[in-house]
């Protein structure tokens, strides 16, 4: 059963993951607040059209839903999703001098979290043979696109983390 394998996940790993999710959510919220305050870009719903044209993907977590939890595939999706957002955040570089520190912290924390999951998958012997490589990330051609991209990426990352948090807490339950 999926839960059987969950017992193989160390409690400290799950607790660290939960803390990292909360930390990244806090980083992400700060980026969203700053984008709203500085550039009046406060609602991702206003940027759906632009998101389509920029091609900002949403990372799937289908194997992590509580109804059909498959642990190995869920860990893999968690890692791939974080890896995708790491690349998207990197593509936002040059967003603006004021936002750069917040963006850097967010990207470092996402990279750390992805790395921890990868190590755990290796420990469980379920890590894919080859580390994933960044697919084609959107190119942002103007300051506005980088800021709008920032709003979209942050909001997609927050919903991704919401799902991740739920499954991690479920797995961490004694």
């Amino acid at each position: 059963t999926p839960l059987g394998r969950a017992r193989s996940l160390p409690q400290s790993f799950l607790l660290k993951c939960l803390e990292q999710v909360r930390k990244i959510q806090a980083d992400g919220a700060e980026l969203q607040e700053r984008l709203c305050a500085a550039h009046k870009l406060c609602h991702p719903e206003e940027l759906v059209l632009l998101g389509h044209s920029l091609g900002i993907p949403q990372a799937p977590l289908s194997s992590c839903s509580s109804q059909s939890l498959q642990l190995t595939s869920c860990l893999n999706q968690l890692h791939s999703g974080l890896f995708l957002y790491q690349g998207l955040l990197q593509a936002l570089a040059g967003i603006s001098p004021e936002l750069a520190p917040t963006l850097d912290t967010l990207q470092l924390d996402v990279t750390d979290f992805a790395y921890n999951i990868w190590l755990q998958m290796e420990d469980l012997g379920v890590a894919p043979a080859v580390q994933p490589t960044q697919g084609t990330t959107p190119t942002f051609t103007s300051a506005f696109q980088r800021r709008a991209g920032g709003v979209l990426v942050a909001s997609k990352l927050q919903s991704f983390l919401e799902l991740a948090y739920r499954v991690l807490r479920y797995l961490a339950e004694p």
């Binding site: 009046k40 719903e45 206003e46 759906v48 059209l49 632009l50 103007s142 800021r147």
Partner: protein, 308 residues
């Protein structure tokens, strides 16, 4: 990209007219046909607007702000899509003034930091990011002609002063100095100073001491005070003259002045004062026979004259 904004100019003078166009090209054709461009302005303004569909199918909306009187306006070009307003592009309009000439430029040669420190007043707010640069050159005459250049002195952010290090200075030769202010709308320069750094030395005040009574000396006369002083140590090599001012500590009497005093005296007797009266004394000095600025007055020395 689905839509983008073009500005007549991103930065204009306050009060000038500005036009902005938003062009929605065919890339947005997947959105169907019947939609209108909606502008969102922050702060809220209500410009004249003209929408037209161009032959090649693109939709263009142009707004005109006859007199822009906000220094910052955030323009968003949007489209109704489903029941949401979609932002397609954003642009920031800035308005302000070209810089006026900086004024009250003054410089002092600081013997402690060994640098020429100049300060100025920037003039009224231009509402735009304005950079100030202290420019100068060495001259062999009265600053009519440039002999050697001196690197620009760029002040720290927001500072209204700049410090030219010793290695760029010839202390006893004239140099021409001025401040340049520059922003997106123009450049202006301050009136030029022509000075030799040593002629604008900032002297710290001298130090005043009471002269301790000693057996070798007869006690001071009633109504007299014995004191000595020494100019500020780093300026010992500079020939100076000094002034002493004194007034009774209590009462309304103003300062009495003793001028043309030498730079240092091992022993000086100040007489003609009221006996057994507490006096406050201060001294200042200036570079003398060569040009220079007076130092501030020294801290007060409190002395009391002997009884009759």
């Amino acid at each position: 990209q689905c839509g983008h904004i073009l500005l007549s100019a991103p930065i204009v003078r306050l009060g000038d007219q500005v036009t902005a166009s938003c062009i929605i090209n065919q890339n947005c054709s997947h959105l169907g046909t019947e939609w209108r461009i909606v502008w969102k302005l922050e702060p809220e303004l209500h410009p004249r607007e003209r929408q037209q569909r161009l032959p090649n199918g693109t939709l263009q909306s142009t707004i005109t702000l006859p007199h822009l009187n906000h220094s910052r306006v955030l323009l968003s070009c949007c489209l109704h899509w489903g029941n949401s307003l979609q932002i397609l592009d954003q642009a920031e309009l800035q308005a302000g003034y070209p810089p006026t000439a900086p004024h009250n430029l003054s410089c002092l040669m600081n013997l402690t930091t060994n640098s020429l420190i100049c300060q100025w007043e920037p003039g009224p707010n231009t509402h735009l990011s304005t950079s100030f640069t202290l420019k100068s050159f060495k001259s062999q005459d009265k600053c009519q002609t440039q002999k050697d250049s001196i690197p620009d002195c760029v002040p720290e952010d927001g500072q209204r002063c700049c410090s030219i290090p010793r290695k760029h200075l010839q202390l006893y030769q004239n140099m021409s100095i001025w401040v340049q202010a520059r922003n997106a709308l123009g450049t202006s320069i301050s009136p030029k100073l022509c000075l030799a750094p040593m002629d604008v030395v900032k002297l710290e005040p001298p130090t005043l001491w009471a002269l301790e009574p000693s057996p070798a000396m007869a006690p001071p006369q009633p109504g007299c005070l014995r004191l000595r002083w020494e100019t500020w140590k780093p300026s010992l090599y500079i020939e100076q003259k000094c002034e002493l001012r004194h007034q009774p500590r209590l009462g309304e009497a103003g300062w009495d002045l003793v001028s043309a005093l030498p730079a240092r005296t091992p022993q000086y007797e100040l007489c003609g004062l009221l006996p057994s009266t507490a006096y406050t004394l201060q001294m200042r000095c200036t570079r003398w026979r060569l040009p220079g600025h007076w130092s501030e007055w020294s801290p007060s020395l409190e002395l009391t004259t002997t009884q009759r």
